[in-house]
């Protein structure tokens, strides 16, 4: 069964959606959308390094993204530039350097579109192991830091006064973000991973009134997006990443109708 590329893509997608749901909630709550984007852009550099040094792609992306996150935290402390400028600086320069390095690697054939937008054909059995094992590990760690992370998302000072350790939780969360980007790059692609984190979560926000519900709905939204996206990718021969994200967008639009309804009900 695992010999069929579509089944592999589907299993990979389910694994990814289970993880992006809860992580995406924190990305939205903590206003980290552009941070996620920056990490994702740097992933291309990770890919090129993986190819030139013959490393595992996911491991290489994870290391580079974590490195970029560390550089960002360092720059935030050392310079007077606003965070969004620093994020832009890192996102575009790492993307540019990545593309320049690809230019030098003439001896390797690159499917650049596949890297940017994901490729349903690219997922092999090894990737499945990385996605499900890595994803499980991410969720486990997230469960472990959930309380301090969530409390400090609501209010940093309250969390600190009550003896939690918000700084450590934040640092660990950053690493988890780098990890989910690393494991989902093949299916969703560099440019659209942040969409996978944010759009199902945004949809969930529209229809939930508690944080727990929001996490559950965003997982469900992610799963539906993966199903619809992959089936249409197969049907219409479109790249997998954009198909999944378009499906997520459709779900988001439907959730807007629900908001309209509740507003009308209130009146």
């Amino acid at each position: 069964m695992l010999d069929d590329f579509f089944i592999r893509a589907l299993i990979a997608g389910i694994g990814i959606a289970l993880v992006t749901g809860p992580l995406g909630c924190f990305v939205v709550w903590r206003r980290l959308s552009y941070f996620g984007d920056t990490l994702a852009h740097s992933a291309l550099l990770g890919v090129t390094i993986a190819y030139s040094m013959e490393l595992n792609i996911a491991v290489s992306i994870f290391l580079i993204s974590s490195l970029i996150a560390l550089i960002l935290i360092h720059l935030q402390r050392k310079t007077n530039l606003p965070s969004d400028a620093l994020l832009g600086l890192l996102a575009h320069s790492s993307l540019a350097v990545g593309l320049v390095v690809i230019g030098f690697l003439t001896f390797i054939r690159f499917d650049i579109m596949g890297l940017l937008f994901g490729d349903i054909l690219a997922v092999d059995k090894n990737d499945l192991i990385i996605i499900w094992f890595g994803g499980g590990l991410i969720l486990l760690v997230l469960k472990f830091i959930w309380k301090p992370l969530f409390a400090s998302t609501v209010n940093y000072e309250l969390a600190e006064a009550e003896g939690l350790n918000p700084d450590r939780a934040k640092a660990i969360f950053t690493i988890l973000l780098a990890a989910i980007i690393a494991i989902s790059i093949k299916l969703v692609g560099v440019l659209l991973i942040t969409g996978m984190l944010i759009i199902p979560t945004a949809m969930a926000r529209n229809i939930s009134n508690t944080p727990q519900k929001m996490v559950v709905f965003s997982i469900i939204g992610g799963l539906l997006s993966v199903f619809i996206g992959l089936f249409s990718s197969l049907e219409f021969n479109t790249p997998s990443g954009p198909s999944i994200i378009t499906a997520a967008l459709l779900l988001f639009i439907i959730s807007l109708l629900k908001i309209k309804q509740t507003i009308q009900l209130k009146n």
């Binding site: 998302t153 609501v154 000072e157 006064a161 508690t210 944080p211």
Partner: protein, 248 residues
């Protein structure tokens, strides 16, 4: 009266420097069980900084701080909850601790916001939110309560009610309270010890001592000394926060 083991937190000549500028320096006071210590002073005088020193937020402070309890409730000065987070009052009460429903209800009732239990935090008014914050702090039965301007945004009758409540909390829970306020009127009546700050300790002592201190007058003006006679305005009924009228 003040035996050693009643002390909850003790500041000895404490201060904090940021970017080579003293935010506050040379502060000494102790908070004891069942006592209310109030910090007053103009904006930027280091009231919140002093509270944070007492809470142990800063690394590398000058002087000495000794804490004798870890059961601390804190109401920070400014707290904004994002609309991106769908959080109900009940979720907020359970944020860092597992509390039983009874404990949560009791705390919310005592600050008069029980009817808001299932409302979204984003839909509360400033005053309602302030009451929820106080309820949250006392629900943990703390030994030390640090309240940074706990009545901001609360209407005037509510304000007096809240200070009454704070007095009651201190008596019922036998906890020490470190209160920050710029509101001279009500503070003076509900306090055991006042520390008047302006980058350093201007003067300190009982409310009466402070009110007639020269430096206090210089800082707040002659008028301020007269605030000891607090506003007493008798109503024959009380409005509860959910809009009902209760006869006295």
């Amino acid at each position: 009266m003040s035996t050693e083991n009643n002390i909850l937190v003790k500041l000895d000549n404490a201060g904090y420097k940021q970017d080579n500028k003293w935010l506050v320096e040379g502060v000494s006071f102790t908070v004891e069980k069942g006592k209310i210590v109030t910090l007053i002073g103009p904006n930027g005088s280091g009231k919140s900084t002093t509270a944070k020193i007492a809470l142990g937020f800063y690394k590398g402070i000058e002087g000495q701080v000794e804490k004798f309890t870890n059961k601390i409730g804190y109401v920070p000065q400014k707290i904004s909850i994002d609309w991106t987070l769908p959080l109900r009052v009940n979720d907020f009460m359970l944020l860092t601790d597992k509390l039983s429903d009874d404990v949560v209800d009791e705390a919310l009732k005592s600050t008069g916001v029980y009817h808001l239990k299932n409302k979204n935090l984003g839909n509360l008014s400033g005053g309602e939110f302030q009451r929820v914050l106080l309820a949250r702090a006392i629900s943990k039965k703390p030994e030390l309560l640090v309240l940074d301007e706990p009545v901001q945004g609360v209407d005037f009758t509510g304000e007096i009610e809240m200070y009454e409540l704070i007095k009651k909390i201190s008596a019922n829970l036998n906890c020490g309270i470190l209160l920050i306020s710029h509101d001279l009127h009500t503070v003076m009546s509900a306090t055991d010890y006042v520390v008047c700050l302006n980058g350093h300790v201007c003067c300190c002592g009982s409310p009466t001592e402070v009110a007639f201190n020269k430096e206090y007058k210089a800082l707040f003006g002659e008028q301020a000394s007269k605030t000891l006679t607090i506003y007493e305005h008798k109503h024959d009924h009380v409005h509860t926060t959910d809009g009902e009228i209760k006869k006295n």
